[in-house]
């Protein structure tokens, strides 16, 4: 992040052509990051402090984990609008399982936590399984499939809870996964770091990671090159849902309740994080490390706006505008790429 910022400031001094090339290489994110940091530092003294930045990191991990999954969907040329619902389902099912096991066997705290997490993540992942079957085997467009499942899942979550939060989970769950720290770093950050590392290895060190890029890059070419395109697509949505479900459990630990209403802003925010990070909506293009930065950027903006006392209603406006700006920037970038090509 720091060195990208440095390259960006360096380019300011040189010609606009240089800036253009940098933009084509790096995308819009480094520019936005620099602007955001400058603006918020000027607006609030508390912004650029170690404590606050750790805060940003802790608050962003949920979005970051969801964005990892969303990135896979975008890479293959689709997207997943049901990530918010998956968060809700995993939170509700996880909390209910945990609470009932805990009620039956109050001594076995860790068994309750384990079964609760398993139940929540499995329930969330099932949404992804259905998405994957629809997209990969019935050729339903990812838009319709995940939009439909978003409604189905949300309905189930509300039905299960009757609309009220689920209480009764062991305190240890929140203490460890919500508020716990290790070496001074919050537990959710450790989880996110582990997932990022695992996904990085999977995407860039194994052939299977390449398949995601191939399927999104050119489905036909991938198929003619012997890649199991249906399997890859199916797996995309399952993985995406699994990530969202893990985020759902972590958020449940933080809130200490299972809620059907969490995650409503996740589809938009996760897609925004990816697109700002240069993941192409046409598929096949995007880097994991940039998506991590993209999620951090959104966390940074939200945090900065909070410190600058910008009303939360207005924050939603800013977020939507940023998403559109990122898409426009992507288009402009494409035009530059085309003009550089000839």
């Amino acid at each position: 992040m720091a060195d990208e910022a440095a390259t960006t400031t360096a380019s300011r001094r040189s010609a606009s052509d240089m800036l253009k090339r940098l933009f084509v290489r790096l995308g819009i994110l480094p520019f936005l990051l620099v602007i955001a940091i400058i603006v918020f530092t000027l607006m609030s003294d508390n912004f650029l402090t170690g404590r606050n930045l750790m805060n940003v990191l802790r608050q962003s991990v949920y979005l970051m984990i969801v964005s990892l999954g969303q990135m896979l969907a975008l890479l293959t040329g689709g997207f997943d609008l049901s990530v918010g619902t998956i968060l809700a389902i995993s939170s509700v099912v996880g909390a209910m399982t945990m609470a009932s096991v805990y009620a039956m066997a109050p001594d076995m705290v860790w068994l309750a936590i384990l079964l609760g997490c398993l139940g929540g993540i499995t329930a969330g992942t099932m949404i992804g399984v259905v998405n994957g079957v629809g997209v990969a085997f019935f050729n339903v467009s990812p838009f319709m499939m995940s939009l439909g499942m978003a409604s189905v899942g949300f309905g189930i979550a509300l039905y299960l809870t009757g609309g009220v939060p689920v209480y009764g989970m062991p305190v240890a769950f929140g203490d460890v996964f919500g508020f716990g720290t290790m070496l001074g770093i919050p537990a959710p950050v450790w989880v996110a770091a582990g997932l990022v590392a695992a996904l990085y290895v999977f995407l860039y060190q194994t052939p299977y990671g390449r398949y995601f890029y191939a399927v999104g890059g050119n489905l036909k070419a991938a198929s003619l090159s012997g890649i199991n395109t249906r399997g890859t697509l199916f797996f995309t949505y399952v993985l995406c849902a699994a990530f969202a479900a893990i985020a759902g459990m972590l958020l449940t630990a933080r809130l200490d309740t299972g809620e059907a209403n969490i995650g409503a802003s996740m589809p938009l925010e996760s897609i925004a994080a990816c697109v700002i990070a240069g993941v192409s909506l046409r598929g096949g293009v995007g880097r994991l490390e940039n998506v991590v930065l993209g999620a951090l950027f959104i966390g940074l903006v939200q945090n900065g706006m909070n410190l600058a006392r910008i009303e939360s209603y207005l924050q939603t406006v800013v977020l939507g505008a940023l998403l559109i700006l990122a898409v426009i920037a992507d288009q402009i970038r494409l035009r530059y790429v085309a003009s550089l090509k000839d």
Binding site: R210, Y213, A214, A221, A222, L224, S225, G226, D342
Partner: protein
């Protein structure tokens, strides 16, 4: 500087004011000069061929002439007057229309709607559909195209879509028509039709700018040829008297001998046997054939004759409803492309953009795509990045990838080099049967020669090669045996001794007459 300009090339008077004259036109893109001081002149009534390798600047020049792009420097005179062609619309108003290779048709709209797209007739602010239809019919009739104006475009064949695209140029009064490889997807009959039309247009004094790689077309309709190389103007020569070798020399800047290599075949054992293969959509009907190791078997026929579809069905990229496919003695009916690739059977598709390459990904990823489960790029469950890089850079060297930068996106290479990136897949593991579907479409002569050599080399190593091609000379020179396809069935099998142009052509149409 250049005397050949003053040859009396065209059939029309020399003193006629040129329709278009460019002087020192350049086009700069950041970091690249796509056109460098090009002079070009189009006289009324001539067919002026633009000739050059992929990336020589032909496309940039015509996009400037058509108003789609503006030059960085230089002047354009239209009928003697300095003109700024700010947009396609402005160019059209001056009678300059272009038909680009990539279609600008909206598949869901009817032919008539497409013809008048952007210039709809309206009465009191409402569409005048009757007039639209009437005039569309008139245009199609005048051109002799048998296409119903009410048909939606997605129901048309590619050739018919090409005709609609051409017809669009005739919406306004036409004085300059720019055609970018218009015959690439046309059948012979349709090509004849187009050439007749071009003849009528030139007789009316319309000037034609024509891009093609096909020598026969240049001979048939060309008056003058302007050769471009690396964005620079090289020469303008007479189309009727300039020899092919001379043109190739001008285009590549070096002497090029025959582009086809000498091949001596030593056919080995049978690798592929197809018996009674039929597809559910009847694209392939009861096809039986065999392919042996170490030979190149040519598949000739028109577009849609079943020559590509047959191999796609064998490869598992298309389903079959009947018949048996045996590969090295084992039945492989219903096997997936992945399974076939692991057995050593590869099919390289005809359309590299839509079926072959991931355009926005690097050459490295594109080359290794079919070999990600092969040993040399694997390290247990992980990818061996070093193994992959070693394999790919070796292939890039062997195929003369230019520029030799394997991390660059395929999209940023010329057509010929894109083709190399795809063909390189055939060397990423030990294949015993490789199908090349139209391996030289849209590829310049220089690259074509190296592709032929490459294919011949594979056959020499004992690989069984199937060469599917619409380019007859390619079939005649490269294969030691050929099958001619017609309407989904094998019309004839021709051994080397009977491989002549007449023989092959006679089977293209034989039953159509009956």
């Amino acid at each position: 500087m250049n005397t050949s300009l003053h040859h009396d090339a065209g059939a029309h008077a020399q003193d006629a004011r040129p329709l278009i004259k460019t002087r020192a036109v350049s086009k700069d893109y950041p970091g690249v000069r796509a056109l460098d001081g090009v002079d070009f002149e189009l006289r009324p009534g001539e067919v002026h061929v633009l000739f050059g390798e992929n990336g020589a600047g032909k496309s940039t020049l015509i996009s400037i002439l058509a108003g789609a792009n503006q030059p960085s420097s230089g002047t354009i005179k239209v009928r003697g007057e300095d003109t700024h062609l700010g947009s396609v619309h402005e160019a059209r108003e001056l009678g300059i229309s272009a038909v680009f290779q990539e279609f600008s048709l909206i598949p869901q709209m009817t032919v008539a709607e497409n013809l008048f797209l952007g210039a709809e007739h309206a009465r009191y602010g409402f569409l005048d559909k009757k007039r639209l239809r009437r005039e569309a019919e008139a245009i199609l009739d005048e051109l002799g195209f048998h296409i119903a104006p009410d048909q939606t475009v997605d129901h048309l064949t590619r050739a018919e879509q090409q005709m609609v695209e051409i017809a669009k140029a005739f919406r306004d009064e036409l004085s300059v028509l720019i055609l970018d490889e218009p015959t690439a997807s046309l059948t012979n009959h349709e090509t004849d039709q187009l050439f007749k039309l071009i003849g009528e247009l030139t007789a009316r004094g319309v000037g034609i700018v024509y891009i093609t790689h096909r020598m026969a077309e240049i001979r048939r309709i060309g008056d003058r040829i302007t050769v471009l190389r690396d964005g620079r103007y090289i020469d303008t020569v007479d189309a009727k008297t300039t020899s092919e070798d001379e043109l190739v020399r001008l285009m590549t800047g070096r002497m090029v001998g025959a582009i086809f290599p000498k091949i001596s075949f030593t056919p080995g054992e049978e690798v592929l046997r197809v018996e009674g293969l039929t597809t559910p959509d009847d694209a392939v009907r009861d096809v039986s054939l065999t392919v042996r190791a170490g030979e190149i078997v040519g598949f000739a026929g028109l577009v849609g004759s079943g020559k590509s579809e047959t191999m796609q069905a064998c490869f598992g990229a298309r389903s079959a409803s009947a018949g048996q496919v045996t590969y090295k003695g084992q039945p492989i009916d219903g096997a997936s492309p992945g399974a076939n690739i692991r057995r050593g059977f590869l099919y390289l598709p005809a359309d590299r953009r839509t079926e072959g390459l991931m355009m926005m990904r690097s050459v490295r990823e594109n080359m290794s795509l079919a070999a990600l489960d092969a040993k040399q790029v694997r390290n247990g469950p992980f990818l061996s990045r070093s193994g992959e890089v070693a394999m790919v850079s070796d292939l890039a060297d062997r195929l003369n990838l230019s520029p030799n930068r394997v991390e660059r996106a395929v999209d940023h290479f010329s057509g010929g080099n894109q083709q190399k990136a795809m063909l390189a897949r055939s060397l990423t593991r030990d294949f015993d049967l490789i199908v090349f579907d139209e391996p030289t479409v849209g590829v310049d002569v220089g690259t074509r020669a190296s592709i032929y050599e490459f294919i011949a080399g594979l056959a020499g190593q004992g690989v069984a090669v199937v060469l599917i091609s619409s380019d007859l000379p390619e079939i005649l020179h490269m294969s030691n045996r050929a099958f001619v396809f017609y309407r989904g069935a094998v019309q004839a099998e021709l051994p080397a001794s009977e491989l002549t142009e007449e023989n092959v052509l006679s089977h293209f149409f034989e039953r159509e007459a009956a």
